[in-house]
Amino acid sequence: MVNQDRIRVVIDGTEVSVRPDAVVLEAAMEAGVYVPYLCYHPGMKPFAACRLCLVQEQVEVEVEREGGVVVEQQLRPATASCTLPVRDGMVIMTSTDNVRDLQHGVMDMLISEHPHGCLTCHRVELCGPQDICQRHVSVNDRCVTCPKNERCELKDSVRFLGMDLNSPLSYKTRGLDLQIADPFYDLDYNLCIVCGRCVRVCDEIRGDSAITFISRAGRSLVGTSRGTSLLQSGCEFCGACVDVCPVGALVEREHKWDKAVKVERTICPECPVGCQLNVEVNKREKLIRVIPEINAPANKGQACFKGKFGLEYVNHKEKLSQPLIRNQGELQAVSWDEALKYISEKLRLYKGEQFAAIASSSVTNESAYVFQKFARIAMNSNHVDTDANSRPSLTRALGKALGYPASTNPVWDLENSKCVMVIDANVTEEQNVVAVPIKKAVRARKTKLIVIDVREVELTHYADIWLQPRPFTTPYLLAGILRYVLDEGLADTPFIESKCEGFDDLYKSLERFTLEMVSGITGIEEDNISATAKLFATSGPSSIVYALDNIPDYLQEVNVNAITNLALVTGNIGKPFAGLYALQRGANQQGCLDVGCSPDLLPGYQKMDESPGQHAIQSVWGQRAPRMHGKNLRDILAGVKEGVIKSALLLGGKTNHWEEEFGESDEVLKKLDFLVVHDTFLGSVGKFADVVLPATTFAEEDGTYTNLERRIQILTKSIVSKKGNAQPAWSFISHLANEMNIPGFDYAHSSQIFEEIASVIPFYAGISHKRLIDESVVTLRPDPINPQPTQMLYSDRVSQGLQWPCFDLDDEGSIRLYQSGFPDHKALLFPLVLKLSPKPTNKEYPFLFIPGRVLAQWERDVEVIRIDGVNHIQREELLEVNPIDALDLTLNQGDPVEINGKGWHMSAAVFITERSYPGSVSMTTLFGEVATKAHLDTAKNARLDIHGLYIESVSVRKIDL
């Protein structure tokens, strides 16, 4: 970063200044000189295997000649530039005859085992798959039948090197079967060049090591690390291997041979990480492939199975295209005008407290803002919330203690944290890319990992310490850790004294949380509590990643307080690599709350009283919002049940976020007199709604998302649907408001809305669509006609987005919060008031069922069976039961049992172990089952519906054989 540290290198006559720790290959890219390579990939350590990126260094040598010593320029032997460190004043030649000879030699050998009949053909770009080939290249060996034909680095490199391919080396294909039974992507190892990119990305970046090199020498190839199927080897189906494959060996199965006509950069709508994705769109305006952006700040080229393979629903033919109105029990297609007129007439009847508005947490900031504005000033109701806000304390308690209700640091700070504590979060499945820096750092032995979760989630397999507190007792455990930290002098006292308030009350409240007491309640041994406290407090900059999975609502706020307290007393706030990460669920949950989708806070978290902020909003809106606090999601549902709320507007009919916590919400919503749903598909709620409006998908609109790093990033309208009239929420709401004669909704474009957002939210004030677009930087220096990894090819510009607070146009945003202190000068330490809850007893379902899910359990065999050409995991699941309960139920080791929950049942074999607490039973299943199900869903173009890991009440019954 610092310029004076850079050193100068001359590449083919071009002088360039580079980082001192760069290698020559990077310097060449910087200089705009193309050096061919196949195994190198940016973002990964060099591998030095393909030996294509050879260069020669020119050095001055003193030579004795007649008449004395003369200095001569000599070329050193060719070396691989991907591993050659730069030196100041180095002179490099990249295309000497020697280098080209050697590159041709490597390539000759390489294509002796890769089909290449088309490479020297002048028709290579003209030929169709079924054309008669006068050169007798068999159909299987043709480039045109290779799904990677457009982006094949091998083909491009051969052509870059200008080879005539007349090598006498004998050609042999491997003759292997295609592997097409595993989810999501096809493997054709006949095309593999064994560059190892896939193996390395899986190991080095993802920390999974699901694939590995197998055999050696002429037979070395890539295969699964265990078993024969990826389902057995611990694959998380993130697709990183597919993204880096230079040839056609690994390809996405859907739209395998489709060609892209354009590539657009947008943001993934699946979770709050905010991964930038490059989406390939074909000529029929279908989204055919997703390549995560390598220079994106939040995901650095990574994605997960949801983002990479789960967006197929965008192309679904059953997407709603027309508004539907229920007429005599049947939904009938109408025009937008008719629909809006109808809605406006109906909604007039429900103004005020009878109306509620629930936004999907994956709508854009613009839509969310217009939505809450509509509810507040058109419908005069503050009953506004988002569908993912079932845990309001998640960020809100952060805001109370620190100032801003948001995570403090960027995701990739986790890679450099000395210790990471993950609390009650299923990161790998729900906010996948957050797990990537954690796993990467743990695998590189840079970071210690503490996991606090009673469930066996994926990250527990990477943890140095895994604590399994009894269900619902996490806050007690945190209190115990806090007290130990303070008692043992592990706290950052200067930080507490200068930057925190309320220490004495906190300390007093911790009095009763002795190790003994906490150990008794949580079931964690005292030594483990103290070891955890020591590790977290003494490792250096440490981070906490938390969700509130399975924390009952009456404990959620105190749980977050305990987490914040722990970060504060150890001084892990307001500095690099020491962050607090609140894991929301919806892609734009942060943004929705920021712009006011909240029952008691206006945009920018302004209170509803007579504050200056409220006045500012009032002056922009021309009207003030109702004064009474509205109901949140939980209370809205209760209100509907009681009949207080009679009408609702829902953005997104995807209620799966809340069903798990609120039960039968669909049944409750049926009670509404008038329900309007804006959704992409006719979902479960739409089926009984009075009006269903067609919504655009994330790929069909522009706007912004705010991710969990507070990073505002811009979505691009990637697909233009030729048919259908779907509209983004902000658009139809504006029309609706106009129809209802409400002023202040004249928006022509989402950027206009963002300008209004910036004018009412001080910490968004410096941000605009224009800035987000203009400040993206062009990065690709080598000529894009040269062979490039796909991710490089698509990364023609880097867009960092802007992280709020960003107060004016000169403000570059805030990468980390509180680095220069807290907004209210001091952070608040809240005393921990914890009531022991009575143990819920349920005669029908006496046990707590604790589900777990991991990528692999090496200690157990897994069988994979093929049904209709699709691999499925088949194994008997084990139900872990405490010996005491086993005695009660007269269960012996291995007995078959039936588990009954509300509305489901399954069978398993009993595994009696002390690991399970009395009264709870646990079962860990494999992610592979989810992957297969998700794969079948995407094949049907349906949205992924992954069942979360929720603790439920069940009964257990022995099956008599």
Partner: protein
């Protein structure tokens, strides 16, 4: 001298005196002995001892180097010279009651004065007479599982001296003075290598001892480990002290049970006696050592692949720089030495670097530890001063080929290539060997007589290189495969004249572009065979016949050619 060492030494002497008062029977139980049947011999002797009610100490010893005479039994009656009996079988056990010099069981040699008339002294045997034993000073003489015997013969004295009287720099200085060069193949100056590690400021540094020794025909590393493991441990300790490293790994392929077991025992003994672990000999020096076992992989003997293997990864070489002295095992600075190199260190420290440098010839000081095998009368392990000619080694020590004439030698492992009979005059000297187009390498010498076909031998060597290519870098993975395919064609007489050029093209590519030595030297066996026996290749291609007839049989060589 430290108190702790003194106590160890006293108790070792005491132990030695007890041993001296008894009948001592040593049976050679190294790989060579075990292959020749020493298990049965051992059992028969134990049986005899019990049957005859003898007060005897029966021990397993390692390899004396006279592998041709295995199973070798060495008997010493109290106060009498040691008697070495060769090729002992259970049915012709030597007498355990008295010394006999007539009849069937005549000792091969004796050791100690007075000797026996008509029986040569051990060191006057033709295989021994020109040897100078430094690293092999204890092999076959001590029970490798008995620390006392090692200490009684002066073991760990050098460590004690270094720890009490020398600074680490002085230790390195002595090693530099000795001119010792690495015996693993690359022949880099050991002292210089140590000073690289010494200069690293890291708190965690490693000494790695490479006993992978995958070369066919090389068994001296394993020979030292199973005959005298404490020499290695002492060498590692000295290396650790000199370089400031506190951890050591002995790296060996799994399955070599003798060397592994005995080294493991030696490490445990050293820990118990305060020679490993914390506060060694009470001097405050700490050093921990453990064994690291690896699967079958030739390339894991390459230094960076070895580090990957220790870390539990697939044994594939890393790129350099960074070099091991900066980024070694677990990413920490490391120094890697061959066992033979480390086995010299105790003697160098005891007797001084100058003493060592006077042995051998300039540029190649000290001795060469060689393994003789193949078509030779006396296969075995020898240690001779550098500068001796190959002819002397093969003909005087090894006794020459049993039938016919020497056709070529295969030295330094498969990558070393072959040395034609006309080069037998070459001296054992790093420079002279490389000038002759061969390498000393790990010290294996396989002798071939005229019944061996050069093409077939080349195919075998390339098959080995190909089978063992780790598959990482393209030139080696594909180059060895193509070379092997071409050579197999030649041996089947299906080759065409242009194949000779094709091999050169592939070979040049491998030599210039490969990542590690395996690929860079992978063409050596072909090139050297072409140099000496180009005519034979021509006959195979042009006349479609093999002079020796060995190419006419089906290949049974394991290969990993393309599917």
């Amino acid at each position: 001298m430290t108190k702790a060492y003194n106590a160890l030494f006293e108790s070792a002497l005491e132990h030695h005196e007890v041993l001296d008062s008894k009948l001592k029977i040593n049976v050679g139980m190294a790989i060579c002995g075990e292959a020749a049947g020493s298990f049965e011999v051992m059992e028969a002797i134990r049986h005899e001892v019990i049957a005859q009610g003898l007060d005897a100490v029966v021990s397993e010893v390692g390899c004396l180097g006279l592998c041709y005479a295995e199973p070798l039994v060495d008997i010493q009656f109290p106060g009498k010279p040691r008697l070495f009996y060769g090729n002992v079988k259970p049915e012709n056990l030597p007498s355990l009651k008295q010394i006999r010099v007539k009849g069937k069981n005549i000792p091969l040699a004796t050791l100690g004065t007075p000797g026996l008339p008509g029986i040569p002294d051990l060191y006057d045997l033709p295989m021994m007479i020109r040897q100078v034993r430094i690293a092999l000073r204890n092999v076959g003489h001590i029970d490798p599982t008995d620390l006392h015997q090692y200490i009684a013969r002066g073991g760990y004295k050098a460590l004690d001296t270094a720890l009490t009287e020398m600074t680490p720099d002085e230790v390195i200085e002595q090693v530099k003075l000795s001119g010792l060069r690495g015996r693993g193949g690359a022949a880099f100056s050991t002292g210089t290598k140590w000073s690289f590690l010494k200069s690293s400021k890291a708190s965690e540094k490693y000494i790695l001892c490479n006993a992978e020794e995958g070369d066919p025909g090389a068994f001296n590393d394993k020979g030292i480990l199973e005959s005298d493991p404490h020499t290695l441990i002492e060498g590692m300790l000295l290396a650790g002290y000199a370089t400031g490293a506190n951890y050591g790994y002995v790296f060996i392929r799994h399955g070599h049970d003798g060397p592994i077991r005995r080294t493991q025992i030696a490490i445990e003994q050293a820990y118990k006696s305060g020679l490993l672990g914390k506060n060694i000999l009470g001097t405050g020096f700490n050093f921990d050592a453990e064994m690291s076992l690896v699967g079958e992989s030739y390339v894991s003997g390459e230094e960076t692949a070895l580090m990957e293997a220790i870390e539990g990864k697939r044994a594939m070489p890393r790129y350099r720089p960074p070099f091991p002295a900066a980024f070694g095992v677990w990413g920490k600075p490391s120094n890697i030495n061959n066992i033979k190199t480390l086995a010299y260190i105790p003697e160098i420290i005891s007797k001084g670097g100058n003493w060592f440098s006077e042995i051998g010839v300039g540029g190649s000081s000290g001795t060469a530890i060689l393994c003789l095998s193949g078509n030779i009368k006396r296969p075995g392990m020898v240690e001779v001063p550098m500068g001796l000619t190959m002819r002397a080694v093969v003909e005087e020590l090894g006794g020459g080929v049993p039938t016919g004439k020497v056709k070529f030698l295969q030295t330094g492992g498969p990558l070393g290539g072959v040395l034609g009979a006309n080069k037998l005059g070459v001296k054992l000297d790093f420079k002279a060997m490389s000038d002759a187009g061969a390498i000393l390498g790990s010290g294996g010498i396989i002798v071939a007589n005229e019944s061996v076909c050069a093409v077939d031998m080349t195919r075998l060597l390339v098959a080995f290189c190909q089978y063992e290519s780790c598959g990482k870098c393209f030139p080696c993975r594909l180059g060895t495969t193509h070379l092997l395919e071409i050579l197999e064609r030649m041996c089947r007489f299906e080759s065409i004249p242009s194949d000779m050029d094709l091999m050169q093209v592939v070979g040049k590519e491998m030599a210039s572009a490969s990542l590690c030595g395996h690929g860079q030297l992978g063409f050596n066996p072909v090139q050297s065979a072409l140099d000496y026996f180009g005519q034979e290749f021509k006959i195979h291609i042009e006349e479609g016949r093999c002079q020796t007839g060995s190419c006419d049989i089906n290949f049974i060589t394991p290969t990993r050619t393309r599917r």
